[in-house]
Symmetry: C2
Subunit: 361 residues, 2 copies
């Protein structure tokens, strides 16, 4: 309810919408607290309505505290249903969220059509984006837990990786360790990319047998009550070579220096620049093919963004990844990543774990 109140302030006091429609899956979770709602219509005054299909109706009634629950029956059209309600309430200007993915084009066009002559609808992802960027205490508790679980998973990776083991066998041990400690699942498909595949930032996890001398990029994230975490370590199978060690130290320093720059009001692109410059000075800038990091929360990729073109500034309560990497085709890749909370004066790592290439630190 606190979150709804904050949204109302952003959408109705700071902007002149007279209703706001939430349709994005993560946004729905953020406001309703449980999955399975089709959308939420938030009027300027009065109770908000959760629209829900039959399959999730009983769960909504049990778990949607403080909302009106409206059942969308089989054969009923959601867009028409919303437009009727909008018409009856004399709403004229509706804001619509669209942080990522949803609503789909077809749904949007349908809704716009249903509202023709009744109300104007405008996509505006700013209000919810603004809210979700700053995590409240309740969210941080869940994200800390997700970070701890992810750290447990990484321990399992260090214990499992050795020549002869398959990538997916490593993933099995990682995910089992996280689950056994209470993880709700994975924030994304676990990456255990070894050998030549480690040079691909999104190298996935296959049935490839890890070989002696391989670099293995392990990028994992536990979830806890819908909140995500994100962490990467790179591990050598067997004794690391001099070149592996050298590049590892560059990435490690870039990650550490960028992390140390995390504080409120810092420009996201400035923090990106710290790591980028270090890697450039070492001569590897061509091999650093992505941004420094991204926000994490209900989604594993959300605002703010840390890259050279970002316009974001950090603020207390932001949770972001710091993850520089160097990727060399036919040699391999090295990435080091932590999920970091922006505190009053500095960053706090939510994922913890050794910064070493070696499996027996």
């Amino acid at each position: 309810m606190k979150r709804l109140k904050a949204l109302k302030q952003l959408a109705f006091e700071k902007k002149d919408f007279d209703a706001f429609l939430v349709t994005n899956g993560a946004n729905l979770l953020y406001f309703a607290g449980f999955p399975g709602t089709a959308c939420i219509l938030i009027p300027k005054k009065g109770k908000s309505t959760i629209y829900v299909y039959n399959v999730n109706y009983e769960q909504s009634k049990a778990e949607a505290k403080g909302f009106k629950v409206d059942l969308v029956k089989r054969g009923e059209d959601l867009a028409t249903k919303i437009s009727k309600k909008v018409k009856a309430s004399k709403t004229k200007k509706i804001g619509l969220d669209a942080i990522t993915g949803v609503p789909v084009v077809a749904d949007y066009l349908k809704l716009r059509k249903a509202l023709r002559g009744i109300a104007k609808i405008k996509i505006d992802n700013e209000p919810v984006r603004t809210l979700r960027k700053v995590k409240d205490e309740e969210e941080l508790e869940l994200m800390r837990k997700a970070g701890e679980l992810t750290t447990e998973g990484m321990k399992a990776a260090y214990e499992t990786i050795k020549p002869g083991v398959r990538e997916y066998e490593v993933a099995a041990e990682i995910e089992y360790a996280m689950r056994k400690k209470g993880s709700w699942g994975t924030a994304f498909e676990t990456i255990v990319a070894s050998g030549v595949r480690s040079a691909f930032p999104h190298g996935g996890c296959t049935d490839r047998k890890i070989r002696k001398g391989d670099l293995v990029v392990v990028d994992i994230g536990a979830t806890y009550q819908y909140y995500c975490s994100d962490m990467t370590r790179t591990i050598a199978a067997g004794k690391p070579s001099a070149k592996q060690k050298k590049i590892y130290e560059i990435v490690k320093l870039a990650q550490e220096k960028a992390y140390q720059a995390v504080k409120p009001k810092a420009k996201a692109k400035g923090i990106d620049a710290i790591a980028r410059k270090l890697i450039k000075n070492a001569g590897y800038d061509k091999h650093y093919v992505h941004g420094l990091g991204h926000g994490v929360g209900l989604e594993v990729h959300e605002p703010p963004t840390l890259n050279p073109t970002s316009k974001d500034r950090l603020a207390v309560g932001n949770v972001v990844t710091i993850e520089p990497g160097i990727y060399i085709v036919d040699f391999g890749g090295i990435r080091i990543e932590d999920t970091v909370l922006v505190q009053k004066h500095k960053g706090e790592k939510l994922t913890k774990g050794p910064y070493t290439l070696e499996t027996k630190p």
Copy 2:
């Protein structure tokens, strides 16, 4: 390439598009064979182009066989880039896929704007949908494997569920069993919903301790090389009650009878009706709150759909779930589900496992 050829036939010979733009994640996987492409532009004549950001560029070059790979540089706008290419090639009518979720409204509107005065763009999900509904041999091999892995996971559920064990501990054993045998991950968040939560079809998986007398709905799916599977069994913790047994037998019969009706040309809504009628005759129709099933493939929910309003007819190569359920608030829920391939004369179950409430069959 075989798939691209088939799409060209549907989009350029049966319809009068002169280019087709693929943007949906699963569709991109279907044509490109690896994740991380931003979109594919398929011209009527000549090579198709994969657009890719820097982070996935090297992987694309290594894995995108038969495509032109075009790098979208930092700061470059994809919509503008596409519109330039379209202009140069004198393309006038572009089809755009949109099976689920993607493209997002903002991207679509941007693209439409960039193409103004150059070409018309029309959302048409039919061509790719038509292709993806019918699985080829290569896809079926992966789906069979995903089904086997899911069956392994369900074995672990039967072995783990007993009073005192937490829901997420059951999920841990299930996912570990699937992973150890080679699963790439889960097709959706594993559901282990016990007691009152079993009455919610999407009851999730929490830290609730399973109690004696609980019904536990276990809904799981392994993935294998991006292909999904989907399977549900309901298991009683301890000796099942007479009422639990009675309702179980109704759901089991409904599932079996619907499965037996699976064959090419059968109306999807007709198969739904078989299970629905059986449940209605037993007096539980109010408690059967969802459709009978859905297609499975690269996505866990895709066409065709089996419900009372479906217009689909089954065809050889379709893969669908058959999953009736009865959900009674404060009593619990029972659902039984298999993933079924439509063969020449009948259905073939890709998920196998006991139809019993009891943990020691």
